[in-house]
């Protein structure tokens, strides 16, 4: 068939304009966080002269590669604040964006396999409740009621001693989330510019002035970094060092199966997290590959360990087949909490360090980061996640609740 016989292309969800010579705000990175930030800048703050610059295709980085788990059951008040704000936004997001995102609040179980896990988990449940986050501690039999396919036999290497349960947690269709934000932002006048890599950041007298890109120089009143795994690379262009390390993080899916898995199960100790996507694939994530890398792939032995862990927890998966594996590059911070706020350069803002868990924060961080950019000072919910905390020592240690080995 020759191309002149093809039907017209259906309408695009967003336009693809040529970049203008200048914008009030340039957002570096067109993933979920960048798109959500643009959306809330336009919607909440009336700032629409915005460009979102994406070096590849829109939402083709970690937004396309994560395991879509959404929850807010973190330990510390600061984390509960921003993650719970995000979860509340998720609960109204489909209506807000006017776009289906298949948000499914099927709950999450975070399994405990040792007495230390149990103590930490019970503590976290209590902390969650004090912060208004729904959380319960379940014994092994209750775990089995919520998710009948979990093996709670005591006769395994790492027996399930119980789990924390957050019923309001769940999953969403990550691509639809990105498209929903992109469509709504574009409709309010935001320019979404793909295949436009930032190659330099112009700083004059301590103030950001412009970005250099593969599609020319673009002047900017403010520049907001949203580059996830490449945050160190773009930060350095402005002379800003960030306390993050980039690692591959792998995930995989099985072939399509009948619905067998009603919830989300995460295990910190055996390094796997599993849900079943709407169309039937089992979606499983691993721990990070140990070494620093910007390659969007990892080593197979990580997948093997992940499969071994999954099989012990879910014997029913023994006959399932791995369909696809892939990797993304995640920026891991020292305290497993993000950095969202100001930088030493005026009018340059940073959002990074979400490590293995940025997807769940998409609307919440977009909301808070947009406020930070619009007002030139942090929103109360991201004030604790400043770059200065590594100097003051006020870390927000979420290694326990991050639930992914790193």
């Amino acid at each position: 068939m020759s191309t002149d016989e093809l039907p017209e292309h259906p309408d695009w969800l967003w336009s693809s304009p040529e970049p203008k010579r200048s914008y009030d705000v340039v957002i570096v990175g067109g993933g979920g966080h960048g798109l959500a930030t643009a959306y809330y800048l336009a919607k909440n703050h009336g700032i629409t002269n915005i460009a979102v610059l994406e070096k590849g295709w829109l939402a083709g980085g970690n937004m396309a590669r994560n395991t879509t788990i959404i929850r807010s059951n973190y330990l510390w008040d600061e984390s509960a604040g921003i993650y719970e704000h995000s979860l509340k936004l998720w609960e109204g997001l489909e209506e807000d964006l006017g776009y289906p995102i298949l948000f499914s609040q099927r709950g999450v179980l975070n399994l405990a396999h040792s007495m230390q896990d149990v103590r930490e988990s019970v503590r976290r449940v209590n902390a969650n409740r004090l912060n208004g986050v729904d959380a319960e501690w379940l014994g092994p039999e209750e775990v089995k009621e919520v998710c009948p396919i979990v093996n709670v036999s005591p006769d395994v290497r790492y027996p399930v001693l119980g789990a924390t349960y957050q019923p309001r947690a769940g999953i969403a269709k990550h691509d639809y989330v990105a498209w929903g934000f992109a469509r709504a932002a574009a409709a309010m006048g935001v320019d979404l510019i793909e295949h436009c890599e930032v190659t330099g950041i112009d700083v004059v007298d301590g103030r950001v002035r412009a970005v250099q890109t593969t599609r020319g120089r673009i002047a900017a009143g403010k520049v907001a970094l949203c580059a996830a795994g490449h945050s160190s690379v773009v930060g350095r262009m402005a002379g800003v060092e960030l306390p993050v390390q980039s690692h591959p993080l792998q995930a995989l899916v099985s072939e399509l199966l009948e619905p067998v898995h009603p919830t989300v199960v995460m295990s910190n100790a055996v390094h796997v997290y599993v849900s079943q996507a709407h169309k039937g694939e089992l979606v499983m994530g691993a721990g990070i590959d140990a070494y620093n890398s910007y390659r969007q792939r990892g080593a197979f032995h990580i997948i093997e360990q992940q499969m071994a862990a999954a099989l012990e927890l879910f014997p029913i998966f023994a006959r399932a087949h791995v369909l696809r594996t892939w990797g993304g590059v995640v920026d891991v911070s020292p305290d497993a909490s993000p950095v969202v706020g100001l930088t030493p350069v005026d009018d340059l803002y940073v959002n990074c360090g979400w490590g293995t868990g940025g997807f769940k924060a998409t609307p919440g961080v977009g909301w808070c980061y947009a406020h930070t950019i619009a007002h030139g000072e942090p929103h109360p919910l991201n004030a604790a996640f400043s770059l200065e905390r590594f100097t003051t020592g006020a870390l927000v240690d979420e290694h326990g609740a991050a639930a992914v080995a790193h």
């Binding site: 690379v233 980039s246 890398s293 910007y294 390659r295 020292p334």
Partner: protein, 92 residues
Amino acid sequence: MLLIPCPWCGPRDEAEFHYGGQAHVVYPDNPAALSDTEWARYLFFRDNPKGPFAERWSHVAGCRRWFNVVRDTATNEIHAVYRVGETGPVNA
């Protein structure tokens, strides 16, 4: 999986090794004399280049010795391996 040439044992699978992060991070001569900013930098900030990176590995399932590797983090290609105390390639 990376194939890592241990300077004592030769090339072995990555699974035999433990990663140690950035190489040549020197403990401060007088930690008490550092400002909070300098201490933060020593404690929490490490290079994270996209390109050649000097890093430490330990051959935990072999000779159990630490050594240094220069690996390109954009390609995972290993450019050099050298023992602790030896000088690595310039600009590594």
